[in-house]
């Protein structure tokens, strides 16, 4: 008994005891499901039967028009969230750091608030703000500028706008906080000496902040790519279900959910999931390589 105790308490064994929960969870909730997804994607699975069909699911995906709509929606949504949710939060963080800002703490706290709200609540609020009635907030704004009311959620462009506005509302604060954290690791002396050399605020931002924020930028961009491509619940809540008119709000995960959970077609849904994984991984890889992430690691 003593021996076992001494063994478990030795400095050599302790690290394995510490990380044991990770290994257990990894095998049950990650490695096995991962293997299972890959395996299922080569099968036709129904109630009580499972038959190996090779690449047939993937061939079917190639010609699946609804799937193409889902991919297009997800990719466009992701690109726009990147265009909006990287520069704006970066600028916010930079401005918040300047001494001209009066209520720094209050601004920060308020911008972060939407992140506390669940997709469900945010979705419900936005769904009714984008109501097609003249009295809905968005239409009130249009009418105020002399424009006609819109059926926001029934057209692709305006529906996408609603989704993007929801994303902007929820995540600007979070990303600002990430960039703030990144900024705090930049040495203040750099700014001081740039000021002495006569650099204006814009030059300081462009030549000091931007390059030195690179690690944060890479991190935020990568998680944004994953979040964007995996978007599902936002659309689910804004449209009240997984079905939107002409599938204008359908995303890749939405399609996976429809096939896997709603129609119980697990094999085909797994193939959808793996395509999502490949798309997400390859976009991130291209991004990480082109931003020189791996070169830095090698150094």
């Amino acid at each position: 008994m003593k021996k076992i105790q001494a063994f478990l308490f030795s400095q050599k064994i302790a690290p394995y005891v510490f990380i044991l929960p990770f290994i257990v969870s990894l095998s049950f909730f990650w490695i096995y499901p991962m293997y299972s997804t890959i395996n299922m994607s080569f099968h036709n699975i129904g109630n009580g039967y499972s038959e190996y069909i090779g690449l047939a699911n993937y061939e079917k995906l190639l010609g699946d028009k609804v799937f193409h709509i889902a991919v297009r929606n997800s990719v466009i949504y992701t690109i726009f969230t990147l265009i909006i949710l990287i520069p704006i939060p970066m600028l916010c963080a930079f401005l918040l750091n300047s001494k001209s800002v009066v209520g720094k703490r209050i601004y920060k706290s308020i911008i972060y608030l939407p992140a506390l709200v669940s997709v469900v609540v945010a979705g419900i609020l936005f769904r009714y703000m984008f109501s097609e009635m003249d009295t809905g907030l968005m239409n009130q704004i249009l009418n105020f500028f002399g424009l006609e009311s819109k059926q926001w959620l029934k057209n692709w462009g305006t529906g996408m706008f609603a989704l993007l506005l929801l994303a902007t509302w929820r995540w600007t604060g979070v990303n600002t906080l990430y960039f703030e954290a990144g900024l705090s690791s930049i040495d203040e002396v750099l700014y001081e000496s740039a000021k002495v050399d006569g650099a204006n605020a814009w030059q300081r931002f462009w030549h000091i902040t931007l390059p030195l924020l690179k690690p944060t930028r890479i991190y935020v961009t990568t998680i944004s790519i994953y979040a964007g491509l995996a978007m599902f619940l936002e659309s689910f809540m804004i449209y009240g279900s997984n079905n939107s008119p002409k599938n204008i709000g359908l995303t890749i995960v939405g399609y996976l959910y429809r096939r896997g959970i709603e129609k119980n077609d697990l094999g085909y849904a797994s193939a959808v999931g793996l395509v999502l994984l490949i798309v997400a991984l390859s976009i991130s890889m291209v991004y990480l390589v082109s931003s020189g992430m791996f070169k830095k690691e090698a150094k």
């Binding site: 308490f9 302790a14 690290p15 005891v17 990380i19 929960p21 990770f22 290994i23 969870s25 990894l26 909730f29 499901p33 991962m34 299972s36 299922m40 916010c92 401005l95 001494k99 001209s100 800002v101 209520g103 209050i106 601004y107 706290s109 308020i110 911008i111 608030l113 992140a115 709200v117 669940s118 469900v120 609540v121 609020l125 009714y128 984008f130 109501s131 009635m133 809905g136 907030l137 600007t172 604060g173 906080l177 990430y178 703030e180 990144g182 001081e192 000021k195 002495v196 690690p215 944060t216 995996a230 599902f232 009240g240 996976l256 959910y257 896997g260 959970i261 999931g273 994984l277 997400a280």
Partner: protein
């Protein structure tokens, strides 16, 4: 820094820079503050319009949508009294969500802290490979593993149980990652000092390092509570019976065309934000500090 100001030129240029810094351009100042005030106002709009709607009859939500209408004529607390009188199961969902959140946050924080401690403080065989796997689990969207996990839960008999909701999310890669970042900033000499004093490896981890990791714990407490309180997709798949629902699923069922519970919908949504708001207000200071302390550097 040299205190010898023998060079009058550099001294005066420093003076000029100082004057410039103190005497900020008032126009720039107004613009920047105006920018943030407008931003904060737009952030507040959905909350305020939701709050207003929660005091009005539910049909008005369908008829009018949400807006900033300042008409107080129809205001009443009736929606809130529906919430609490037990006619929709809202309070049950609330209790379930509280219970699930508290249990899973406490377990997640403890487990992830231990795992991160193992990665940050020791060198061992396969360390790099295993840590690569931590990163890899962050890189694969959960949604992809959802279906096999669902099958797994069926075979474990965990469908429609709270254990089924809680277990798969307990060991959370980004929480481990964050704790590790934070812990690797702690000097290893502290551990050696503990060892010399006769503490065991686990004693050092719990009694010496844990107390000085408070900022990391509070940052992760808020983030994990947000995750647990707001999570919807996985509970939606695991839970079956209405009395076991969590808040997000419950609220979502109110949205279906079959229910006429729109009266409760917005009031229930607004009221569901409360616990996180309180948590955020209380821990806000530590939260920002903690996030900064463990943030991605270099």
């Amino acid at each position: 820094m040299s205190k010898n100001n023998s060079n009058p030129l550099s001294n005066s240029s420093l003076e000029i820079a100082k004057v410039k810094k103190d005497g900020k351009n008032p126009l720039v100042k107004a613009l920047i503050n105006g920018f943030f005030i407008i931003m904060c106002a737009s952030v507040a709009v959905p909350f305020i319009s939701g709050l207003f709607a929660s005091f009005r009859p539910g049909q008005m939500l369908i008829r009018n949508g949400l807006n900033l209408n300042l008409d107080f004529e129809n205001w009443s607390l009736i929606n809130y009294s529906y919430l609490f009188d037990g006619s929709t199961g809202y309070m049950d969902w609330y209790k379930n969500s509280l219970m699930i959140t508290i249990v899973s946050v406490i377990l997640t924080l403890i487990i992830c802290y231990f795992v991160a401690y193992g990665f940050a403080m020791y060198n061992f065989k396969f360390k790099n490979l295993l840590f690569f796997l931590v990163i890899a689990t962050m890189m694969v969207p959960f949604e992809i593993l959802m279906l096999p996990l669902y099958k797994e839960m069926i075979s474990f008999g965990l469908i429609d149980t709270y254990a089924g909701v809680i277990l798969p999310g307990l060991v959370h890669a980004s929480t481990i990652f964050f704790f590790r970042q934070y812990l690797s900033g702690i000097p290893k000499e502290l551990l050696d000092a503990g060892r010399i004093d006769g503490s065991s490896e686990y004693g050092i981890c719990v009694r010496i390092v844990m107390p000085i990791s408070k900022p990391a714990f509070s940052a992760m407490a808020i983030l994990s509570s947000m995750g647990a309180w707001n999570s919807m997709l996985w509970p939606l798949i695991v839970l079956r019976s209405a009395e076991k629902f969590t808040l997000p699923i419950g609220l979502n069922t109110l949205l279906t065309p079959y229910g006429n519970n729109y009266d409760v919908l917005v009031a229930g949504s607004i009221f569901s934000i409360l616990p996180l708001f309180i948590l955020y207000l209380v821990f806000n200071k530590y939260f920002v500090e903690g996030m900064t302390a463990g943030a991605v550097k270099g």
